[in-house]
């Protein structure tokens, strides 16, 4: 077994080495990381240019109210300007137009343009949270639990949309990573076959070692790329206090990361089997199309659920159906309808299907890899005698 694993790792290490050496891998990794960094940093940088946050104070902006605003300013490290308003309606109008960061109604509430999401920071780091805290202490009214004033938004929370958008981004990441690395496996296998190196390799190693070594090596490569994106997102987001980083979005990202691993495991051997059926790399796409069809379908349907008000019943089936689960279950988490146990069940089903898929794919691979001449059909490979 040790020898078997050693050989498997030798094959995987070669794939890893060759993959990392490829210019395309380095370029794509840099571009993806740069794109994520830009998505996190640019909004933060633009926010940073707004050097003064205007805070409206309803009623006479007496020393107590002004002091409350300045305490909140010190807590959050922002520069604020107090703008007094005679009426609440006038302050709300300015808030709606985006001219104010927040409105303090002394002793009663803090108003912001949009209701904060359940997962977003309600106090401490945000100006509205700090105003609520300082305002509550100043008034001593106990207007809210913990002594803070309530924070109210003029518009409904944007939470659902932002988390859904995160879900969309994660779904795209799952789709792209499985598709890119799956295609790489198909092309890599067909190249080994067309360059005839396969016969030399199979004289030294078993087909299963070659198959699993290849998908392991490329899998590590795929996950390292995904990890680079994830780390960039979380670290930079935390450093600049990006609004993208809050618990609901992180939950979607974590579930997505899990599904990248499980989804890759499910699809990778099938992609290798597809590569073994063709004799030239140019046929690889056609052979791998049946493999990636469920992934494409689940990706397309994603939009109808993410932008819809309800989740269709059949979508729950897709969330448990292993070929479509990686994207569909992630989407259900993003729209906030999937419970943790449902995610766990779907993952378990997919892992069980992965074992079955690996068994079928290794049979097809072993039969297809030494087949010469015209392309072997899936049905032929599955039916073929010994």
């Amino acid at each position: 077994m040790t020898g078997w694993l050693t050989t498997l790792w030798l094959v995987a290490a070669r794939e890893l080495r060759q993959g990392m050496r490829a210019r395309s891998f380095r370029v794509v990794t840099v571009l993806l990381v740069a794109a994520v960094a830009a998505a996190v940093l640019i909004p933060a940088a633009l926010k940073g240019h707004r050097t003064v946050d205007k805070v409206g104070v309803v009623g006479a902006a007496g020393p107590a109210a002004t002091a409350t605003v300045h305490i909140a300013s010190r807590i959050t490290g922002t520069t604020v300007q107090v703008v007094p308003f005679g009426s609440l309606a006038a302050a709300e109008a300015q808030l709606r137009e985006g001219n104010l960061a927040a409105v303090l109604v002394p002793g009663r509430a803090v108003l912001i343009a949009r209701t904060p999401s359940a997962g977003s920071p309600a106090s401490g780091s945000s100006l509205s949270g700090a105003l609520a805290l300082a305002g509550g202490l100043a008034s001593g009214s106990g207007a809210a639990p913990g002594g803070s004033l309530p924070v109210r938004g003029l518009s409904p929370p944007l939470t659902a949309l932002s988390v859904r958008l995160t879900g969309l981004a994660v779904s795209i990441a799952i789709y792209i990573i499985i598709l890119i690395y799956g295609s790489r496996i198909t092309v890599g296998v067909s190249e080994e076959k067309s360059s005839r190196v396969i016969e030399v390799l199979l004289a030294a190693v078993r087909p299963s070692q070659l198959l699993y070594g290849k998908v392991l090596g490329l899998g590590i490569l795929a996950l390292s790329q995904a990890l680079a994106i994830l780390v960039t997102f979380v670290v930079l987001g935390s450093l600049v206090g990006s609004s993208l980083i809050h618990s609901a979005s992180l939950q979607v990202v974590a579930v997505g990361a899990l599904w990248i691993v499980v989804g890759y495991a499910f699809y990778c051997t099938a992609y290798a089997a597809a590569g073994s059926l063709v004799s030239k790399p140019s046929d690889a796409y056609n052979a791998s199309l049946p493999v990636q069809l469920p992934l494409i379908v689940s990706y397309i349907i994603t939009f109808t659920v993410l932008y819809g008000d309800t989740v269709p019943g059949f979508y729950w089936f897709l969330a448990y159906f292993p070929p479509t689960a990686p994207i569909s279950m992630t989407v259900l988490v993003a729209v906030g309808v999937a419970h943790p146990w449902q995610v766990a069940l779907s993952v378990l089903l997919c892992l069980a299907a992965t074992v079955l898929m690996a068994w079928i794919a290794s049979r097809v691979y072993a039969r297809g890899i030494l087949h010469g001449g015209s392309r072997l059909r899936w049905r032929q490979a599955l039916r073929k005698d010994g």
Binding site: E199, V200, A203, L370
Partner: protein
């Protein structure tokens, strides 16, 4: 199969047969190998044995089943029946680590450098990293491609790619070398170089089995051969035995008789095979007297040349294969060695 069965099989083939699958001192034994591709039998009960430490030629016309048999030996292809034995035991993965293989359809990773490629294959065959590196250096030196180590395979000439392919088969210093058409595409210098390497390996105790259509080269290099046709063995033995077998042939030249007119006085048991520049080639039927031919020639004039000819390997090959062609029924025949379609045999 016991010795009796093996001998019986040898006789039914109707040609010189020795050292069958159970032959004494055999390192490699092919026993009743069978493999079909649909209706076609690529291997039809093929049996023969390869003695240890020999360079052994594996011959046959295109489509005879040589490549299929070689693939079966190295485990690249499964058999429908029969068994391959190495040093008396069935071949398993461990035994195969002592085999080196050069397929007919050459192939290495185009984008890997020569050093990386050889070290990688050495490691796959169970060598340590340092051992594989040392061996890659040694074989690239020996095959005259030391300066190509940092080069990618795809940038090398065909001849150098072929040398690297041989190095890939040799890198783990195998005890058995299975080489499918190793000389195809090589220039004369390359042929000499590769021949020398194979002879060296055999002298060091390795068993070398190779296929080739270059029969003169096989005749020079091998000690023994097996000839197969339509998946069956049609001749096997040492070159001495095979070339010395069959009907005796003589070459005779009588002074001043450029047309070989003296042969008119020969008895019916002696057949004239040809005349070339006064040298007559005659074939003696079983029991015919060599001395009688010399007497007739002397009676006609001064005998300038008289020799007993050994058959060339190409003659043995043609005879063996044509015999099988006559015998072969309509169901015989397998796919070509380098098949154009279907599963590679």
């Amino acid at each position: 199969m016991d010795d009796h069965e093996a001998d019986e099989q040898g006789r039914t083939a109707g040609h010189v047969r020795r050292g069958t699958a159970t032959g004494d001192g055999a390192a490699l034994q092919l026993i009743e190998l069978r493999r079909r591709y649909g209706d076609r039998a690529a291997l039809d009960g093929l049996s023969f044995a390869v003695p240890a430490g020999q360079v052994f030629g594996f011959l046959g016309p295109n489509g005879a089943g040589k490549t299929t048999a070689m693939r079966a030996i190295v485990g690249v292809m499964a058999l429908d029946g029969g068994e391959v034995r190495w040093r008396g035991a069935p071949v398993d993965d461990e035994a195969r680590r002592a085999f080196g293989y050069m397929p007919e359809e050459r192939g290495l990773y185009p984008g890997m450098t020569v050093s990386e490629q050889l070290e990688y294959l050495g490691r796959l065959y169970g060598m340590s990293s340092a051992g594989a590196r040392e061996s890659a250096l040694r074989w690239t030196d020996r095959l005259g491609v030391a300066d190509k180590r940092p080069a990618k395979i795809e940038t090398l000439s065909q001849g150098n790619q072929q040398r690297i392919q041989l190095a890939a088969a040799l890198v783990h210093d195998p005890d058995l070398l299975v080489l499918d058409e190793p000389f195809a595409g090589l220039d004369p210098a390359g042929v000499d170089e590769m021949s020398a390497v194979l002879a060296e390996r055999a002298a060091e105790g390795a068993t070398v089995l190779f296929s080739s259509h270059q029969l003169d080269l096989v005749q020079d290099l091998c000690e023994a051969v097996a000839i197969i046709h339509r998946g069956r063995l049609v001749a096997e033995g040492s070159l001495d035995e095979l070339r010395g077998g069959g009907e005796p042939r003589l070459s005779v030249r009588v002074a001043g008789d450029l047309e070989g007119l003296w042969t008119h006085d020969l008895p019916a048991a002696v057949r004239v095979a040809g005349v070339k520049a006064g040298t007559v080639s005659v074939v003696l039927a079983p029991g015919a007297d060599t001395q009688l031919v010399l007497d007739v020639a002397r009676a006609a004039g001064g005998v300038e040349h008289f020799s007993v000819d050994r058959r060339r390997l190409s003659d043995v090959f043609r005879e063996a294969v044509s015999g099988r062609l006559d015998e072969a029924g309509p169901t015989g025949g397998g796919p070509a060695d380098s098949d154009g379609g279907g599963e590679r045999p």
